[in-house]
């Protein structure tokens, strides 16, 4: 690894993204402070929304700039910088890795600043933050009472599970909302938790896990006529309560690190092989597709939804982390191959 080359890549990657990102995030924070005085805006200023606003602004503004600069670095390594770089004894792989580390350091600096700005923007507002830890298997039960739907659930496998979260859908046939009574109880009797709530949006129903052990039973009862409520049982999950909501930004930064590692490796590699503009466009198209897609590597949009809901995104799975590292290595190999055999000559 060549430290001066890392510093050069850091410098080349960081400045435009940092400058524009700081201006954009500063504007969001300022706008939020100004908006705080308005009573009309108070309902929308939840910690999750504020955190989401800062992160989204940073990602949308600085992300493409960072990727564009990384592509340009790769392009220069194979073109304009080759005479002073390739004629030296340093290995092509070492040169590429040093540049990648420099660009990744720039991404880390940006993410740390974004996390700090997001948490500073949220300030001291207190909220309960949840993190998903696993799915909840809901088995429908036959009930004799009309207007009541029942499900059976196994005891959650994760010992820190504290909340059952049940996403709902709404069809406004008999009115704009529905009044529901939700009850989560131990099958063997004893402790139970009951909530009566108005379902007017697709915001999920949350029920705390009652004390005790053993299988559980979930009952949903319609209290009065209203909209039709749909329960997609397969999307229910167990969540745990996190003591510090500010950790959301840390988890997001961890996820961002893996994503940036892979994207920046591919940015350098594509820069070696292609012109900067089409390479950046291709990379952004792939990043956007992965953002909206599900699966092990994609679905980053879901993590941002968690942030907006005031929750904490799940830590990357072992398979997801492994795949991200494999993608990083694949990008590195492609770039090295291009530098080694003169991709553009």
């Amino acid at each position: 690894m060549r430290v001066p080359l890392m510093r050069l890549a850091l410098r080349r990657s960081l400045w435009p993204a940092l400058l524009v990102g700081c201006l954009a995030v500063g504007w969001v924070l300022w706008n939020n402070r100004v908006g705080a005085a308005s009573e009309l805006a108070t309902w929308s200023r939840s910690p999750g929304i504020l955190r989401h606003a800062v992160w989204m602004t940073g990602i949308l503004v600085s992300g493409p700039l960072l990727l564009g600069r990384a592509v340009a670095i790769g392009h220069r390594l194979a073109g304009a910088d080759a005479p002073w770089c390739a004629s030296r004894p340093a290995s092509r792989l070492g040169v590429l890795c040093s540049s990648w580390i420099g660009a990744l350091t720039a991404a880390c600096v940006l993410m740390i600043l974004l996390a700090a700005a997001a948490e500073l923007g949220v300030g001291t507002q207190v909220s309960r933050a949840l993190q998903p830890i696993g799915p909840a298997e809901l088995t429908p039960l036959e009930t004799s009472e009309s207007g009541i739907v029942s499900f059976e659930l196994e005891e959650p496998a994760h010992e820190n599970a504290a909340v059952l979260r049940l996403p709902v859908g709404l069809i406004a046939t008999g009115g704009p909302s529905a009044r529901i009574r939700a009850r989560l109880m131990r099958t063997a009797g004893g402790a139970f938790v009951e909530r009566e709530l108005i379902v007017a949006t697709t915001r999920p129903i949350e029920l705390d896990l009652p004390a005790g052990e053993g299988p559980l039973r979930l009952e949903l009862e319609r209290v009065e006529d209203g909209a039709l409520v749909l329960v997609p049982a397969k999307r229910a999950g167990w969540w745990r309560v996190m003591r510090h909501p500010a950790i959301a930004s840390l988890f997001l930064a961890c996820l961002g690190f893996l994503v940036c590692a892979a994207l920046l490796a591919w940015a350098l590699a594509l820069g070696v092989w292609m012109r900067p503009a089409p390479a950046t466009a291709l990379l952004l198209a792939v990043a956007i597709a992965l953002w909206f897609s599900g699966g092990t590597l994609g679905g980053w949009g879901v993590a941002m939804e968690h942030i907006a809901g005031g929750d904490i995104p799940a830590l990357p799975t072992l398979l997801g982390s492994g795949l991200a590292m494999a993608m990083t290595a694949a990008g590195g190999c492609l770039g090295w191959w291009g530098l080694r055999w003169g991709a553009r000559s």
């Binding site: 060549r2 001066p4 080359l5 050069l8 080759a82 004629s87 030296r88 055999w341 000559s345």
Partner: protein, 283 residues
């Protein structure tokens, strides 16, 4: 034609070709069409040729920046794919594309690091070379603020940075002022005395002066002539004579004598002072 000196070869280029694909239809463009050239260790070779003749392409191949399409290229007894070979060569590229955002000293630190030098070593040697090429007072100035001539001087410093055995200079005099030319001449003299092999390209015959042992002429991607500079650039019966101590009124006598012996005078102009002398007198 001058023969290659005996002893080990620094560069053995046999039938080297290089082509590029360019344009929408990826049309093939030949840059080198079979370059055969041998350069001995310790020799100073001038490579002359018009623009687009392939001098820079050949130098980039020898420096390991690119790979030839066909032919055999042996540099310092090995291949430039070998890092150990690249460690022993220095290269001044044609358009000095060094990182413009770095200061001169910081850039030498970077290049020293890529050449396997320690930071202290690169700093010490880099400082001395910047002093040598007259850029010591600009060590912290970013290269983006350098003029073309200053970049060329910086290029000379980085080519000598890791004391290479083979130095490739692609158009080293382009943009150099009179003082820069003098620095280059001194560096070349020292390199020659130290047994360093130097390859220097240019398309201006005067650049080769008395510093080159041999001159190779490249035209349209091929070596067309190799020989001693005087042999190639001189014409029997044509001389350039420098005279000192002759007052202007007596010039007419000289011209008359030349006519009397049947010679044609082509140029007489005052000389004796270098441009660098004028720069010094201004300061």
């Amino acid at each position: 034609m001058a023969e290659v000196k005996t002893g080990a070869l620094a560069i053995l280029s046999t039938g080297i070709t290089k082509h590029y694909r360019a344009g929408l239809l990826l049309r093939r463009r030949e840059a080198l069409r079979g370059v055969d050239l041998k350069v001995s260790k310790g020799e100073t070779l001038g490579l002359a040729g018009p623009n687009g003749s392939g001098k820079s392409t050949w130098m980039r191949l020898v420096a390991g920046v690119e790979v030839q399409s066909a032919g055999e290229l042996e540099v310092l007894g090995g291949s430039t794919a070998d890092a150990e070979v690249r460690r022993r060569l220095g290269f001044l590229p044609e358009d000095a594309p060094f990182p413009r955002e770095l200061g001169a000293q910081a850039c030498l630190d970077l290049l020293g690091s890529l050449s396997g030098m320690s930071r202290d070593e690169a700093r010490e040697r880099g400082g001395a070379l910047l002093e040598r090429v007259g850029l010591a007072h600009e060590a912290r100035t970013s290269l983006g603020k350098f003029s073309r001539g200053m970049l060329r001087r910086f290029g000379l410093a980085q080519a000598w940075l890791h004391s290479p055995e083979l130095i490739l200079l692609d158009e080293p005099t382009a943009g150099l002022d009179a003082e820069g030319h003098e620095v280059l001449r001194e560096l070349l003299r020292e390199a020659h005395a130290a047994g360093t092999t130097v390859c220097m390209s240019s398309h201006i015959p005067g650049d080769f002066g008395a510093g080159c042992d041999r001159l190779a002429v490249m035209v349209a991607g091929k070596i067309v002539q190799v020989g001693a500079p005087d042999e190639l650039l001189g014409e029997p019966g044509s001389w350039s004579v420098g005279v000192k101590g002759l007052e202007e009124p007596r010039l007419a006598e000289l011209e008359e004598w030349l006519r009397a012996v049947g010679a044609t005078q082509t140029e007489i102009r005052p000389t004796g002072r270098e441009l660098s002398d004028l720069y010094r007198s201004e300061n």
